[in-house]
């Protein structure tokens, strides 16, 4: 990767060399934009989106109360408490619920013969018309501007300020 980029650069004229970093930045920003869009869509499937800290999965430590009215911490015996951290981590990795995309990947649906209907083939696919309406992500009204950093839309200076202050790059790591 490194070589591909640096070799042609060496042979470039000084003018191209000036432009190249800008293009690289633009490329990076379009990458940011895709990333931001994907992350934003991903967030729409979250359950506890607002909670900053994801709580540890404590399935194996919790159990049903005898009168069946909810979850209580099971009193751990001393021996299990002394479980090494590593063993604990391993166990959590095994028990942690996985997300659907992981299970999908494991199912290896691509190996199915082409005529067999499957989850992947049922996807509706891209829209036939590429025209996309743009709404301001701040106020919802029609927007004419795109943020150069993250690609989200805004309609006015006022909304841009809000965008910059609150959500710009929120979805980019």
């Amino acid at each position: 990767m490194e070589d591909d980029v640096s070799n042609p650069l060496r042979r470039m004229s000084s003018r191209t060399r000036k432009i190249a970093p800008k293009m690289a930045a633009a490329l990076a920003s379009s990458d940011n934009r895709t990333q931001a869009t994907l992350a934003r869509l991903e967030a729409l499937e979250n359950d506890n989106a607002g909670m900053e800290t994801v709580e540890p999965i404590d399935d194996d430590e919790a159990s049903l109360d005898d009168d069946d009215d909810g979850y209580v911490q099971k009193k751990q015996s001393k021996s299990t408490k002394r479980k090494t951290r590593q063993a604990k981590a391993l166990e959590n990795a095994r028990k942690a619920p996985r997300n659907f995309l992981e299970l999908l990947h494991e199912a290896n649906l691509e190996s199915l013969p082409p005529h067999v209907p499957s989850y992947g083939k049922a996807a509706v696919g891209p829209p036939s018309s590429t025209c996309r309406r743009h709404f301001c992500t701040v106020c919802g009204f029609a927007s004419n501007y795109t943020c150069v950093r993250c690609g989200m839309r805004f309609c006015s200076i006022r909304c841009q300020v809000v965008h910059d202050d609150t959500r710009c790059l929120k979805f980019v790591t």
Binding site: E45, E55, L64, D68, F100, P117, V124, G125, R133
Partner: protein, 455 residues
């Protein structure tokens, strides 16, 4: 680990084949949605219980609680949620088993070992998930027998039985559009079977819509990112489908009483009220006057912005606003359901609902096309937005050949439609014969048993 009175105490093989008569009334019908579980007894019209398919932890509690029909009355402000289902599919079998256990023992009070189970499962469920499900049903809970059905088929059955002389029943064919919690499917059904090869899916459902609404409100007025339960309520009470987006955007910009879309939702304060509510329900319904295309132009409805009662209301609103326990909605009300019709607006590379339907129909035999367009059935909670069917027809009509009719029916109760179809099927005389029994499962395993459901 669990207080499991249902676990078979006898080893496998001992009881399954001996039972001399199959008891028809002992079929449990379970529509296991990603959002809600609908469960009850086969043959009945209404499910006995409808509960969220999750564990939840209110702020007042240190532990996660089981949902029950009364949990809606709890203070659910900022409650954390754990769901066994992700993107429509079961990903956490332990959690699901736990919820089912509670459902069967405490809510339905049935004993699995002498009951059959009719269970709904989403289309294209992965074999690994089917295996996990069968394990819970037979090995952990010990049901006598199992039948697995997909929702479109059950919706079709129910609608056909409601109108025995209608097109759906006569042609034995329909296009079921299920817009639920996790995703949206357009599924052709023919001779009571879902044509898998024709099914098309949009990865958007009620959950994404609620989360989108949360995002919009949080950036514009109050942070409600933690309020899944409350924002579900806001969505259900205030969102609607626009019949003319650019016109409605203009209306949403107006000031004062001319803004027929503005309405106010009051958040729970935890002291005087633990539930949120719409501040002025009549005000919230004013948009309906301009949606009706036969009504007078809405400029005529705009008089009265200086009426004293309204001025008073405005004053009142300003006062309460300071406490930040309420927020206004305007264009969010229709921009949220708008996603289903145009996911591309959101940056999703997916076609909208009208195109989704056309693609589903087009993947079937041409002879079926006219019948399918004429027997579209809407089901699923997200079809409950006012004007959903009207908008769909507006978008669909231009995409369908002129000589075909487009007819869209909304189910009487889009949330319970699948369950009712299941209840109907469970009470049919050949139901037991269609099931796989526990001993068959033990003998053949999950994969071979599953093949039976599709023939």
């Amino acid at each position: 680990m669990y207080t499991n009175n249902n676990k078979p105490h006898t080893p496998f093989h001992s009881t399954a084949t001996i039972c001399p008569f199959s008891d028809m009334s002992n079929v449990v019908v379970l529509d296991n949605g990603g959002g809600f579980i609908k469960a009850g007894h086969g043959g009945e019209r209404e499910p006995s219980t409808v509960i969220p398919n999750c564990l939840y932890r209110p702020l007042s509690s240190k532990k996660f609680l089981h949902p029950s029909p009364t949990s809606a009355a709890d203070d659910l402000t900022s409650a954390a949620i754990r769901r066994p289902i992700d993107r429509g599919y079961l990903i956490n079998p332990d959690l699901q088993r736990d919820i089912w256990n509670h459902l069967f023992s405490s809510l339905l009070r049935i004993s699995p070992s002498n009951s059959s189970l009719l269970l709904t499962e989403p289309l294209f469920t992965l074999p690994s998930i089917q295996r996990a499900t069968d394990e819970i049903v037979f090995e952990d809970l010990g049901f006598k027998s199992l039948f697995v059905a997909d929702s479109p088929k059950l919706v079709h059955l129910y609608e056909a039985s409601r109108r025995p002389y209608g097109l759906v029943a006569k042609a034995q064919c329909s296009l079921v559009v299920d817009c639920g919690f996790s995703f949206t499917h357009a599924a052709p059904v023919f001779q009571n079977f879902t044509l898998n090869y024709g099914v098309k899916r949009i990865d958007l459902g009620g959950k994404a819509l609620t989360n989108y609404l949360k995002e919009l409100v949080s950036y514009r007025s109050v942070n409600v990112m933690d309020e899944s339960f409350i924002m579900d309520d806001v969505k259900e009470k205030l969102c609607f489908v626009s019949l003319d987006v650019s016109r409605d955007l203009q209306v949403a910009r107006r000031r004062g009483r001319d803004n027929l879309l503005r309405c106010t939702y009051v958040l729970p304060d935890g002291v005087t009220h633990t539930k949120g509510f719409v501040k002025d329900p009549d005000e919230a319904k004013r948009y309906l006057t301009m949606m009706n295309r036969n009504a007078q132009p809405y400029s005529d409805l705009n008089q009265g912005s200086d009426r004293p009662d309204y001025a008073e209301k405005l004053e009142e609103r300003k006062k309460v606003d300071l406490t930040k326990t309420e927020f206004d909605l305007t264009n969010e009300r229709f921009l949220v359901p708008e996603m289903i019709f145009h996911p591309a607006d959101l940056g999703m590379n997916e076609a909208g609902l009208a195109e989704c339907i056309v693609r589903a129909v087009n993947s079937c035999h041409p002879l079926l096309h006219p019948v399918l367009f004429e027997s579209i059935i809407l089901t699923g909670g997200s079809t409950l937005f006012p004007r959903f069917a009207e908008r769909l027809e507006m978008e669909l009509r231009p995409l369908v050949p002129d000589n075909y009719q487009v007819k869209i029916t909304t189910q009487e109760d889009p949330i319970l439609g699948v369950w009712r179809g299941g209840s109907l099927l469970a009470s049919s005389p050949d139901f037991e014969a269609m099931c796989i029994t526990k001993s068959e499962y033990e003998e053949m395993g999950s994969a071979r048993c599953r093949k039976r459901f599709f023939h």
